[in-house]
Symmetry: C2
Subunit: 325 residues, 2 copies
């Protein structure tokens, strides 16, 4: 694909994946709005069958495999949600999936990936040998690599969320002024950015990252890809990509996106708000965008703000401990 990604690619993806993914609700909590001083809408992607938006990009990839690629199978690298998404979509289409995962992936994500029939190979997150391992496996077995974010087909798939947000806000008669998406490599945010042209007045796009892992925020500020100092150490296990994608950063720069970040404590507070006001179970990375909205009350005062609740795969006991704080 040499053409730049555009709205038409997202619309084609939406038609392709429609039979396989949920149209997730856009939730509101009027009592919370009164506290916040702005109108908050939560796009509950945690309600997808695998508990994360990643299912959209995975299906948009698997559904475009050639017959030869289908026969050989696919391979993906993921700390968890992309893994489950690729495993789920591959199984649905009768394709073999190999997933390369970090040894410290949350147990619930590991177990479910296996239960979905995928073969799992491990790497050590700190020694970071995952790319070499993945390349070796892909070459030896002729597997098609499904990138978690830096691939036009993945990005177009995630962007289908943006089409739903446009339709759902229009149905409610509201005009969103900001959309906040959790950000690891930027696939979700850049995909949604491709849909901003639908609006009469385009909402501002924001990325939400863990504090200390805010490579996208610094990249958007500087105009060039920045790299995180650390590879691990945030509660948001799903948001630890070291640097923006080559495809994702230009899209986000082009639309004037800005970066936000939240600490672990702020993310945990957002998980409690999600449970109490929206009755949603969110994993830390899935609550990052909500966390950024909650800590930016002055910036968003009086506005209508959409946040993506991007995932809900959290170990039950870890979740209980966070709720109990």
């Amino acid at each position: 694909m040499t053409e730049p990604l555009a709205l038409a690619d997202v619309e084609a993806a939406a038609a392709r994946i429609a039979p396989h993914v949920e149209t997730t609700p856009l939730l509101e909590a009027p009592l919370l709005d009164a506290e916040l001083g702005f109108r908050l809408l939560v796009k509950a992607e945690s309600l997808q069958p695998v508990g994360a938006f990643k299912l959209r990009g995975a299906f948009n990839q698997i559904l475009q495999l050639t017959d030869e690629e289908r026969r050989r199978g696919v391979i993906a690298v993921s700390s968890g949600n992309h893994a489950q998404a690729v495993a789920y979509a591959a199984r649905a289409m009768g394709v073999a999936a190999t997933i390369v995962m970090p040894q410290d992936a949350p147990r619930v994500k590991l177990e479910r990936t296996k239960a979905l029939g995928a073969r799992v190979e491990f790497y050590d997150r700190l020694s970071n040998d995952r790319d070499a391992l993945t390349r070796r496996l892909a070459e030896r077995e002729g597997l098609r690599f499904i990138h978690p974010y830096d691939d036009p087909r993945t990005i177009a798939g995630q962007g289908t969320i943006g089409l739903e947000i446009f339709a759902q806000t229009r149905a409610k008669g509201v005009a969103p002024e900001a959309i906040i998406a959790s950000c690891s490599g930027g696939g979700l945010a850049s995909g949604i950015a491709l849909t901003l042209g639908l609006y009469a007045r385009a909402p501002r796009m924001f990325t939400a990252e863990p504090a200390g892992f805010d490579d996208m925020r610094r990249s958007l500020e500087s105009g060039a890809a920045q790299v995180n100092a650390a590879l691990a150490g945030s509660i948001c296990d799903a948001l630890l990509a070291p640097t923006p994608g080559r495809h994702t950063l230009p899209i986000l720069l082009a639309c004037g996106a800005r970066g936000l970040a939240a600490t672990d404590a702020q993310v945990e507070a957002a998980m409690r708000v999600a449970a109490e006001h929206f009755r949603l179970v969110l994993e830390p990375g899935g609550a990052a965008a909500l966390a950024c909205a909650l800590i930016e009350r002055e910036r968003f005062a009086g506005m209508t703000v959409v946040v993506i609740a991007s995932g809900g795969n959290v170990d039950r006991k870890d979740f209980a401990a966070i709720l109990d704080r």
Copy 2:
């Protein structure tokens, strides 16, 4: 209203309340299905703005008030979800609401009812003076009483869930064989029962009650209204009505509904399943139908079963303790 309730009343309610309520998703968890041996679909009514299906009946009531009734205001008796629903719908339509609540109502439900602008009056659940108190207030102030379940307008409103289930299962290409609804007085179950004629082959309707508070189960078996021995003592605070409604029981008898019941421990296990597999925060009463599905694997083997996740208003720390077990 002297005509018997029918599908047309539910369809009229749906048109009336559509701008005010969410079309909630019908969720699936394929990995759980593999464990259970049947296909389970969860109608997530916990995602309504007040966290419970009760919003449907409340709007169908408030939207049909006469001008005079609007001016005087409404009154309702509720342990919580009906209270919030009436308060929310009344506020939305500019009507004053008075809510009569038990002193032991969950704190989160009490606080939110107040935050929604309702006046709250308390009664003692064990001395059961609520009907006298409510009648006195209603007469003195000329307030219209909004019954939580035993009123045709309430039942028709709750029945709109059944229309959504019909449309959503048809869109998925599945034919439900059973629908399980949590049951206190029977408004939800009887409302849905009014929609069963839409199906080529009607699913069997089941009610789900707390063990020991299974007046509806015993009433459906005997063909006459039975009464619970106790008025309090279940974790399912929302499901403690002492006997079926005069309107609800005949509808459920007519469609051949059957009663199921779950213990507190089984309800808590269902709350954990809802969090882990569907990423939903459910209150005990909201998980009763799921609990009954989980404990009736033999009965439902190989079938397609819809359960209503009817509410999600649970104190955060109580929920954390249940998740941690």
